[in-house]
């Protein structure tokens, strides 16, 4: 988890020019860090590349829009990192 968070925080800091020390596991990417949807595409691209996965952004967005999930579940960084770890594990299991 810490390793995943460190990588994600570094990606966010470099992609969005946000000071690294302001990014914590509790940070909400949108509400706290002010990352908009376009910048989040750059972050998703970097995460997809770094971890060899495909973040299911469309599915997550649909779930939020349908009221089946909250943005906190996917965009608070500790939760985002947990989702990334799940995707990496699923990929490894399927490989």
């Amino acid at each position: 988890m810490s390793s995943t968070f460190d990588q994600v925080a570094t990606i966010i800091a470099e992609t969005c020019d946000i000071p690294r020390d302001t990014i914590t596991p509790e940070s909400h990417a949108i509400d706290d860090l002010g990352i908009d949807s376009l910048d989040f595409l750059d972050i998703a691209f970097a995460i997809d590349k770094a971890f060899g996965i495909k973040l299911p952004l469309e599915k997550w967005t649909q779930e939020v829009n349908d009221g089946k999930a909250t943005t906190e579940q996917y965009f608070v960084l500790k939760n985002l990192c947990a989702r990334i770890d799940e995707l990496v594990a699923a990929k490894s299991a399927g490989a």
């Binding site: 376009l38 595409l41 998703a44 952004l57």
Partner: protein, 156 residues
Amino acid sequence: MRLEYFQLIDRIVDLNVGEGTITVEAEVPRHNTIFEGHFPGYPIMPGVLLIEAMAQSAGWLLIAMTKFERMAFLASVKEGKMRSFVNPGDLLTIDVRCLHEGSGYAVTEAKIRVKGELRSNATISFGVIPFPNPELRGHMDAMARRIGFPLQAATP
């Protein structure tokens, strides 16, 4: 190239969905009112239209990769470089490679060459979403036939 209709590409000459690549040709018109302003006495193809030509080429690649079920909308242009002038009458060869097909977005790398010489290149990202209405889908179907889109390449 029909600038007045914002149709920047003429024909698809190669498409490889598996590899995520496309090659497109486009001939810059010899005469167009755009060149009266850009620039008087020194006509050159505007760089923004070169970007658009690369974006349209990449768009067709992404339409093919999504089996003609989705439309690509320009999201960002990075490292866009106009390396040397493109002139009226030039034949552009545009090569695009898909760097990454994400969830609802894609990142591509495009290059424009004239007679083998690199004139412009950019990294271009798109939002890739289902066609928003049948009218646009129908328009793209018609356009696909005009530019020689190999429909079999997009068959599910």
